[in-house]
Symmetry: C2
Subunit: 397 residues, 2 copies
């Protein structure tokens, strides 16, 4: 029998989805599971986007262009303009979710053994994509006790070697919700220019910045040849399932290289593009409502978390996640136990163990990532379950 | 300015899509372009699949499971059963088109420098995916004068080294339309077993076999641990744009490894899955009509091709492509010239130069791949254009 690749055996399981079988088993028993593990918003997709789907007159669902429909890319330029980002339609490539944008961006810019610097805790799938491309990942650690702000720039400098080719930032950050300040981004810019690096900037949570300060995109840093922006309509319009993301860059060489990979996979999803295109304009009220809703959920949820004995969460300034520390030694064990053993009136909770968001072994062991994407009533119930579960779990040990 | 990866610079442009800018320029001038370059069927998607989309009651277009909806996978088991393929729903993984299935299959089974054997001419994007995974591709050559039948099995044996990990077959073949016989597949099986290889079998054209003989899937060869089947609903239901493919294997280790990559990219397209699921049952009449239509087109088109002086095409037994030789030295130059210079009453033709479907430099230079996916009237006009263009092009040289 032939065996899988070494790469395949080294690939980590997704910390967001790896407990899914336990959750499925609990549901089979009739247990209600509150999902704080995944950034799957419960807010509706803009109705006009669903309408566009129903108004579809195509008789054949054919391939779209490898770079995505130009009508969609044109609308996106208008959207970016509203955020002070000046790009043309031919600087945008439509991808199968932000995920594909990251993978193709890495493949186009870095070779095996090249080094990429990321902040930890970071979006776990970055590591998976970096492994897929055989990159060497260097992490600099942001700390819960510092609210996960940008680590001192000296940490980045220490991580740089002759093989370093890129820095990857997620801003606002998944999983911490931290929003990098213009001053922090300025420091990143300097180090990027000094070392001639690519700066991958994942900005899919741009809409969700709650600190009242203006948001600065990496595209506004004045280093057009260095920046590769990753974007997605998934969270912004609550349409994660349509799998429409974007890779945006002023760097023509990068653009044309990404396009070669895009041609090989033929085209991004046709129907998702129709939904995405219909979501961009005339949704200002929708966006405002979503923003207010998430902000209210954040305020409610983080306050509630910090009221549970032994639990600590910084106040996230953006996105809709937080990384919180729990009064347990092994958060993964606790998360599993919640799904297999703990029930509060037939209900339980699913969270993502945060260790999977760190590269450095041992870090984040007592932390979990939670997405506050549920309605307040469900968040409230989740807090009750967490409080009761922690009391029981800690009493058992 | 940072530069792209070596991998990126080595990536080939798609021979199917690389002339697209020339075609776009011609269209801008008002020229009508007949597309024989790409397997984009003009047949309608099953109406019931479009209806399913319009009947959608979801308010939020959320992520689907990383492996695809179980309802879709269950329907697929019924579909496969009709073809004598026994698989369970948990042996099927839904992917973003057959393209993603190939890429994730290769990543899961082969490491950089591992060797994979393919038949040339072969589907050009296999080479792109193999390069993405840093594989070493060995090709054995099938020949137009032999109707592109399986090369002698000794050729495969000669290509095998200690690094050989897999053979990839496309059956029926894109680009040649050849359908491997049970005897040929038996020989492949022997060599696969003897050398403990994976057999990747791309069977997306299973529906379209015109030789009246029973079709044998690699899944029926009795080597369950070796076979990874690649599949897609794209061509079968004329819904290429929905990006729904499948990776099917009895090999649990491979399945579980592919799933790790699938979790990293979160989920396959939601809307495409709804369309695909609605296409599977109750479309027997639709499938028959498509089959008859393609068969008639094949008969008409291949006959017409062989009537043009200097043109030769074998009779393809399956799929909806053919590789034909033309009375020109450099088919790529001819294909470009068609788009930039040649017009017949304001119309021209786009074909894919076949050299891009060969790995061995110099092979296929006078050949083109054509997809006979247009209605007879358009195929007829394409033949007229090709005849007139060849007469003019050869007279100019």
């Amino acid at each position: 029998m032939p065996h899988i690749s070494n790469l395949g055996s080294r690939m980590p399981s997704s910390p967001i989805r790896k407990l899914a079988p336990l959750s499925a088993a609990a549901k089979k028993e009739g247990v209600k599971v509150y999902h704080l593990n995944i950034g799957q918003p419960d807010l509706p997709t803009p109705p006009q986007a669903l309408e566009a789907l129903k108004a579809l007159e195509r008789k054949t669902l054919e391939y779209s262009p490898s770079e995505g429909f130009s009508s969609l890319r044109k609308k996106l330029t208008g959207y970016y303009k509203r955020y002070g980002i000046e790009v043309s339609a031919d600087e945008i490539i439509v991808t199968c979710g932000g995920s594909e944008a990251i993978l193709l961006g890495l493949l186009s810019c870095l070779d095996p053994e090249d080094e990429i610097i990321m902040v930890e805790p970071g979006y776990a799938n970055y590591i998976s994509f970096a492994k897929t491309v055989h990159l060497s990942v260097k992490t600099v650690t942001s700390r819960i006790e510092e609210g996960f702000r940008l680590p001192p720039i000296e940490e980045f400098e220490k991580a740089i070697t002759p093989r370093t080719k890129a820095i990857l930032l997620c801003n606002p950050s998944n999983p911490t919700g931290y929003v990098y300040t213009p001053e922090e981004l300025q420091k990143i810019k300097e180090i990027v220019v000094k070392n001639d690096l690519f700066l991958f900037s994942d900005e899919v949570y741009r809409e969700f910045v709650y600190n009242g300060k203006p948001y600065l995109s990496a595209m506004q840093l004045g280093i057009p040849e260095n920046v590769v922006m990753i974007d997605s309509v998934s969270k912004r319009y609550s349409e994660c399932g349509v799998r429409i993301g974007m890779l945006v860059t002023h760097n023509r060489e990068v653009h044309d290289t990404v396009m070669k990979f895009c041609q090989a996979r033929l085209s991004p999803p046709l129907l998702g593009q129709i939904v995405a295109e219909a979501s961009i304009e005339g949704t200002e009220d929708y966006a405002r409502q979503c923003f207010e809703e998430y902000k209210a959920r954040r305020d409610f949820f983080i306050k509630g978390l910090n009221e549970i004995p032994g639990v600590y969460s910084p106040m996230p300034e953006g996105a809709f996640y937080t990384v919180a520390s729990l009064p347990v030694e092994d958060a993964e064990d606790f998360c599993k136990w919640l799904l297999t053993d703990f029930r509060l009136d037939g209900e339980t909770l699913m969270m993502a163990p945060a260790a999977g968001f760190y590269s450095t072994p041992g870090l984040g062991k007592n932390q979990v990532r939670m997405a506050y994407v549920l309605k307040e009533e469900d968040l409230s119930r989740s807090l009750e379950i967490l409080r009761a579960a922690l009391a029981k779990y800690t009493s058992l040990r």
